[in-house]
């Protein structure tokens, strides 16, 4: 590629043609501030509307300043990122943005991790001229089961719109109105609850301010923990342990499983269990369902639907319920690990320890915001009592630990409690894209062929590409597997199914980029996709270190079937571990 020579702040550099001024400066360690710009390069997500104008630079020969995020280098270009003209403009624009932003940083959920706040600090803004008579835009607060929209804090960076439309193809959020009234909102500025929102939380994950945040359930958890009458049980999802450390300054990809368990025990949870256990259980049910459908299909049963789709991602479940209601009998009926756990905890385990389910509080720690909605669904309640009472995100757990004056970094390691704390490597890899289907393959292969796998690593199923496909040889039978992460990618596979062109036997779908490790409840990645890669690596390392790596070898899962459930897909298993789906889309007038 052609090299372009240019000068930035009196230093000369050569970069390939097509590079932006911003990226060139970054290579030279010149950190031009940005607000709206976001580049998740491994996922092909780029947001550069050129809207905030904070990254403006001076280019010799041009009469206006140029946004460095979207200005491409040209031969002989002379750029100044720090002239007084630039600094004055940047400060003035920042003052403008702040003049239309609430000043309640003290109690803002984003305080401390807010890009806008950090920028105000960096630019040393001390006053906002004219604030006393400046009109400030205000909007109705919108609280849904998972996400809070406080659009007073929206700075129109459009990142959420990009995630919701371009990446997820959900289309819940869009820029509406014009000029000073412009804001990102659902249709008719209704609440998210009445929109196609899947609660995937990717809007929250990229929002630079406190405009989009999760519903905070930590106060309820604190209340439950302080109630001596309650037995409080916690489960932690696989992706949490690969990211929680980041909130305490640890390098992305640092595994903190043992430290997290200690912290949870110190917080006073009566039982610290692992969602990974339920992930193993999911594989037993889903894997069996898959083999059942496959066997019937091979026998020529025309009624049976293939491919089977995984169903452990609640964002994804919401997506197909809304956008593809006609395909709602294709996904596995297996509940998600969170819900399987809750169901078993409040039946099998509650019986075992002699606690009434109403006196037991099940808390889940999830990398996900859709889980907050999922645990409130009516299907997952018994006489109005939910199987999982509260779902908190990785970020909320970090806050809770910090509130308790604990530093995760210094924690000793502890083991999960028995019996619902035991898991195999297969359960761990649920946290990364491709992990569920790999776990299912490990079990399905051995059950179907009756042979032991030589290697449990199915590397062909791993990776970061949005849509991946691979074949696995089931002893002469070729099983074709599809994997998608990101709902936009999922949509493509679903369209194929709808048109009858799908070549797959089984498909894994995760709503978030990279799978659960990139979930909407994880520590904010601030646009750095290397963080997602480091978390993925951590997940696979944990899998490799496990002695047991196949779900059907989990001794406590085996015991659970022996003592309680009988066998996968039994009537009891159906009742406790499976679910059904609903078409969610409001019918527009039918002709």
């Amino acid at each position: 590629m052609k090299q372009i020579k240019l000068t930035i702040d009196n230093k000369t550099i050569e970069v390939p043609e097509g590079t932006t001024v911003y990226k060139t400066a970054k290579e030279m360690d010149i950190d031009i501030p940005v607000l709206c710009y976001m580049d998740l390069k491994d996922l092909n997500i780029e947001n550069k509307p050129g809207g905030c104008r904070i990254c403006s630079v001076e280019i010799e020969g041009r009469h206006n300043l140029a946004p460095s995020c979207s200005t491409y280098v040209s031969e002989g270009m002379v750029v100044r990122t720090n002239s007084m003209r630039v600094i004055n403009a940047r400060r003035t624009v920042m003052e403008l943005i702040l003049s239309d932003h609430p000043k309640d940083c003290l109690i803002c959920p984003k305080s401390g991790t807010c890009d806008l706040q950090n920028m105000a600090i960096k630019l040393g803004i001390r006053e906002i001229p004219g604030q006393e008579y400046a009109e400030v835009s205000t909007y109705r607060l919108d609280t849904s089961p998972s996400i809070i929209r406080n659009m007073d804090k929206c700075i129109m960076c459009r990142r959420c719109e990009t995630m919701c439309n371009d990446f997820q193809t959900v289309g819940a959020l869009h820029a509406v109105n014009r000029g000073f009234q412009a804001v990102v909102a659902p249709a008719f500025e209704m609440n998210l609850e009445h929109s196609p929102c899947t609660y995937c939380g990717q809007c929250v994950a990229v929002c630079p301010t406190g405009a989009l945040t999760e519903v905070d359930h930590t106060p309820k958890v604190i209340q439950a923990l302080s109630d001596p009458a309650k037995t409080v049980v916690v489960q932690t999802a696989p992706a949490v342990r690969a990211a929680l450390g980041e909130e305490f300054g640890l390098k992305p990809g640092t595994r903190v499983t043992g430290k997290m368990v200690t912290a949870l025990k110190n917080l006073g949870f009566d039982y610290v269990f692992d969602t990974d256990f339920a992930a193993d259980l999911t594989i037993m049910e889903e894997g069996t369902e898959f083999l059942d459908r496959l066997t019937r299909h091979l026998k020529g049963d025309r009624e049976v639907k293939l491919p089977i789709l995984t169903s452990c991602c609640p964002g994804w479940v919401n997506f197909f319920e809304y956008h593809f209601p006609e395909l709602k009998d294709i996904p596995s009926t297996a509940r998600s690990p969170q819900q399987m756990f809750g169901s078993i905890a409040k039946s099998y385990f509650a019986e075992k320890i002699g606690v009434d389910r109403k006196e037991m509080v099940v808390v889940s720690v999830m990398p996900c915001l859709a889980k907050k909605y999922e645990c409130q669904r009516d299907e997952f309640k018994v006489d109005g009592n939910p199987d999982v009472d509260y779902s908190i995100s990785t970020r909320e757990l970090a806050h809770l630990i910090k509130q308790a004056n604990m530093d995760l970094v210094d924690m000793p390691d502890s083991e999960f409690d028995a019996p619902l704390g035991e898991s195999t490597g297969a359960g761990v890899i649920f946290g990364a894209t491709g992990g569920v289907i790999e776990a299912a393959t490990r079990t399905a292969y051995e059950v179907h062929t009756g042979k032991e796998l030589e290697s449990v690593d199915f590397k062909q199923l791993r990776g970061m590409d949005g849509i991946r496909s691979a074949s696995v040889d089931f002893d002469g039978l070729e099983i074709r597997i599809g994997i998608a992460h990101g709902l936009g990618n999922a949509r493509k596979l679903l369209e194929e199914i709808k048109e009858g062109n799908s070549e797959y036997h089984a498909i894994e779908i995760m709503a978030c980029p990279g799978g659960c490790i990139g979930g909407g409840g994880q520590p904010l990645h601030h646009g750095d996709s290397n963080i997602l890669k480091a978390r993925t690596k951590a997940i696979y390392e944990e899998d490799e270190e496990k002695t047991l790596r196949k779900s059907h070898e989990n001794p406590y899962v085996i015991k659970l079937y022996e003592e309680f459930l009988d066998k996968p897909m039994s009537e009891k298993a159906h009742q406790l571990l499976h679910t059904h789906y609903f078409g969610r889309k409001k019918k527009v007038f039918e002709v």
């Binding site: 959900v170 819940a172 869009h174 109105n177 249709a187 929109s195």
Partner: protein
Amino acid sequence: MSSVKIELRKDQVEKIHAFCDQCGNEPGELINILHRTQEEFGYLPAEIQEVIADKLALPVAKVYGVVTFYSFFTMIPKGEFPISICTGTACYVRGAEKVLSEFKKLLDIQVGETSADGKFSLSCLRCVGACGLAPVVLVGDKTYGRIAPDDVKEILEEAGGARTRGQGD
């Protein structure tokens, strides 16, 4: 944007579908479809936007985003006599603002609103290209030129015998 709740009849939905079909159900034709629909119904309530979004396979949020971007589209039905005051520059320097405040005063509504009896709605537009007649007021298709605040009452009475504020209450 505020809106009114309505229920569409089957024939109305069919009509909207027909507009979409004539435009090949192309999302790129959204603005043309909105134009034709507003021409037919007078305004674009939420229910209509939902039908269009569904037919073109677009998110409703996007349709709403487009509707609220363009000042020509409205989600509120216009009055029987839609009043538009030109606030273009030529009309402004010749006193359009005073005329506008007289209309607001007599009708007791703001720009973009419709009077409670549904008779009058008030809007501003930018230059009708009749700058020689400034200031200009349009009532429906009828143009009034060189309007002074004093003429406003007469215009309203001529249009519909308006019951203006201060009368009879």
